[in-house]
Amino acid sequence: MTDSGVPAHAQQPDGRAAAGLASGGTHPGAPLSGAAPPAAPAAQPVRAGASGQVIGWLLLLPAMVLLVMFTHWPALATAWHSLFSTPKGARPARFVGLENYQLMLEDDVFWQALWNNLWFALGTIPTSIAIALAMALWVNGRLAGRGFLRMAYFTPTVLPMIAVANIWLFFYTPQYGLLEQITGALGFPSHNWLGDRGTVLGATMVVAIWKEAGFFMIFYLAALQQISPTLAEAAALEGASRWQYFRRVLFPLLMPTTLFVLINALINSVRMVDHIFVMTRGGPDNASALLLYYIYQVGFSFWDSAYAAALTVVVLAILGVTAFVKFRVLDRRTHYQ
């Protein structure tokens, strides 16, 4: 596995909302292939002329059909549907313009979910990247039981999120949950982690970090193993401390991976809501409602597909803008080997 792979999630057609979101991720992911051995220069057409062009398009066709069908078309259809009312029984959909978006401005739950998601992203992204990097540096070294340690770190990634959430539900259970047993032994008072508006979002963040740090570690590990040991030797000869070596040599070389992981973490912070279903269902009083969960609720509990489409478009726009800014700012500072 190298960091040049196509993000795995882009291949999963998990519903319209996710497919729409994935389109925000697939594209930004593409330039990252630069992290791999430099891509071959644009293929010189063997035969100039129309037949060569036809062959070129034919070769592109299978991938294009899939991309258009499962990524671009759903995104466009979502935007189109968001301008109509939801058809119901005998009442067909009618054009309502931007009414759904206007509704969103007055929708307190939407704003709450948006803020929650922002905090969720701020809470999970830097932490999980830092932990992933630390774990990768740790298991990259020569130490006994290295394989076992790597596996242990990677295990949470392999488990299905629903199963994970069910386990964590009992970790957080007041009184006899694992967490309570530990804090109780240390003499702290009992706390209802998932039942308190103040702690519920933090509690779900911990689960997300635990789940995805191991996944990001794999990318860092792969990148670390491609870095030539001569660099470390040269740094040692120059008398650089370990921190200097990390700060000035290793981290800059890992920048393409960091960028890739950053984009993935951002997408995950919007995409990963499975544990919300199991652990809190957005409660108490929307304190843990995230955007995608709210979209699901509007779409499949309230059956208001038009409003759900409008919400999806907004999420898509936010993700698109963020990815754009990231590439603009970070790509300049990223050193590709």
Binding site: A90, L169, Q175, Y176, N192, G195, G283, Q297, S301
Partner: protein, 429 residues
């Protein structure tokens, strides 16, 4: 002459043989979506039911499709309906009725059940189960797997606290009084055993109805376009719920998880819990102590909401298929079947006749607690169900959780919930 009769006999015989054969060649195929919401081998029981039915009715084929939880099932059914191929029949929440009607997805049952015998069958269910199956003078669903809320108590802990182990709390005041005696704290002031737990995650509105009903308040009208969340009785009921933790300190603060409540009971960290009758089999298997089951405590009267799933018959199928679907529903809710289903799952058998079957009588002898739910039906009301059901329920759920977590006062929370419900329902008045 002889030859002629012989020929005739052969012809008649062949004809007679051919007729059922022709029938058997073209059985009516019905797809049947069902959810699983309680523990136990429900899938196996349903498959067995379908097989038994086919044996008695060779001209009908039932294809049971396990569709996930209740929520997943209605998503699948409505998606299938919108793509033009709904199942012929399905078991979905009784509260989904208005949603299904608004989508134009289901047909009224009394339109299909037209014979006198059919009418008698439809009149044979417990009336409190029918409240969630009727609106606008029509019957849209047939009760199948239905439940109510009951109170489970730990007899050992009652004895330890000096209470009569054979008597559950009968009134609101008694529940607080018992719970105070049952709440234990250790030397550091940490509570090790709570008096009572009423779960409030996921669908707190349902458990809340266990408080509003005894206080004499209904939450909505039969037409499903009006709610009464800010009535004084409703606010009073919420105040009582909030006070259990805020004032009396006999219930943990914040939102209590529904899923772990039975476990809290097994672990003896809660002496009394409120949960569905559907958990009876679960608690019987896992509680390592004698326990009692009581009706929910009374304020002005007894009361609880009903819950659970109904059979629905879907549009876009032929008359023949609809009649076949009705035949299966009638068969599945016949007294012996209803008794068998109740014993296998813990749901309340849906007709009084089912309780008179020998199998049920034997079960009641072994598990006398099972009758509590039945006896409570007399005081039960319909589960909250309106047009735009999930949206309206969410408005109430949010208000309840806001009050229970202390971020809003009960009255303000219920006013907000009512305002939101009014906004959602204005198009249906």
């Amino acid at each position: 002459m002889i030859r002629r009769t012989l020929l005739q006999a052969i012809a008649a015989g062949a004809l007679a043989a051919a007729l059922p054969a022709a029938h058997a060649q073209k059985p009516v195929e019905l797809s049947f979506y069902y959810p699983v919401a309680v523990g136990g081998p429900v899938t196996k029981t349903i498959d067995q039911m379908a097989a038994d039915f086919e044996k008695e009715n060779p001209d009908i084929r039932i294809k049971p499709v396990y569709a996930g939880t209740y929520q997943e099932s209605i998503v699948k059914v409505l998606t299938a309906f919108k793509s033009g191929q709904p199942p012929h029949l399905a078991v979905l929440l009784s509260t989904d009725m208005f949603t299904l009607i608004d989508e134009g997805a289901i047909v009224p049952i009394d339109g299909l059940a037209s014979s006198a015998e059919d009418k008698q069958w439809l009149g044979g269910f417990f009336d409190s189960f029918m409240m969630n199956s009727r609106t606008g003078g029509k019957t849209w669903g047939v009760p199948f797997q239905r439940s109510t809320i009951v109170l489970y108590w730990n007899k050992e802990l009652f004895k330890e606290a000096g209470l009569d182990p054979d008597k559950g709390p009968a009134t609101w005041d008694e529940m607080v009084e018992f719970a105070k005696k049952l709440t234990k704290t250790d030397a550091s002031g940490k509570v090790t055993q709570w008096g009572v737990k009423i779960p409030s995650s996921g669908f707190p509105y349902w458990l809340f109805q266990g408080l509003t009903t005894p206080n004499g308040a209904l939450l909505m009208n039969e037409a499903g376009n009006e709610t009464w969340f800010d009535k004084p009785e409703v606010v009073e009921a919420l105040q009582y719920w909030v006070d259990l933790s805020a004032k009396h300190k006999v219930m943990p603060g914040g939102v209590i998880e529904w899923g772990t409540t039975p476990k809290d009971f097994f672990e003896r960290t809660a002496a009394m819990v409120w949960t569905t009758t559907g958990n009876l089999t679960n608690i019987r298997t896992n509680a390592g102590f004698p326990f009692g089951v009581a009706m929910l405590p009374a304020k002005k009267q007894r009361g609880s909401p009903t819950g659970g799933g109904n059979f629905y018959v879907f549009e876009k199928s032929s008359d023949e298929e609809k009649q076949a679907a009705l035949k299966f529903i009638k068969w599945a809710t016949a007294p012996e079947r209803a008794a068998q289903w109740s014993i296998a799952t813990g749901y309340v058998a849906v007709t009084p006749a089912a309780w008179d079957t020998p199998a049920m009588k034997k079960y009641v002898e072994e598990v006398p607690q099972a009758t509590v739910a039945r006896d409570q039906l007399e005081f039960s009301v319909a589960e909250l169900s309106t047009h735009e059901n999930q949206r309206v329920t969410k408005a109430l759920n949010d208000g309840l959780q806001a009050a229970l977590t202390g971020s809003k006062a009960p009255e303000a929370a219920m006013k907000d919930a009512q305002r939101e419900a009014d906004r959602i329902l204005r198009n249906y008045r």
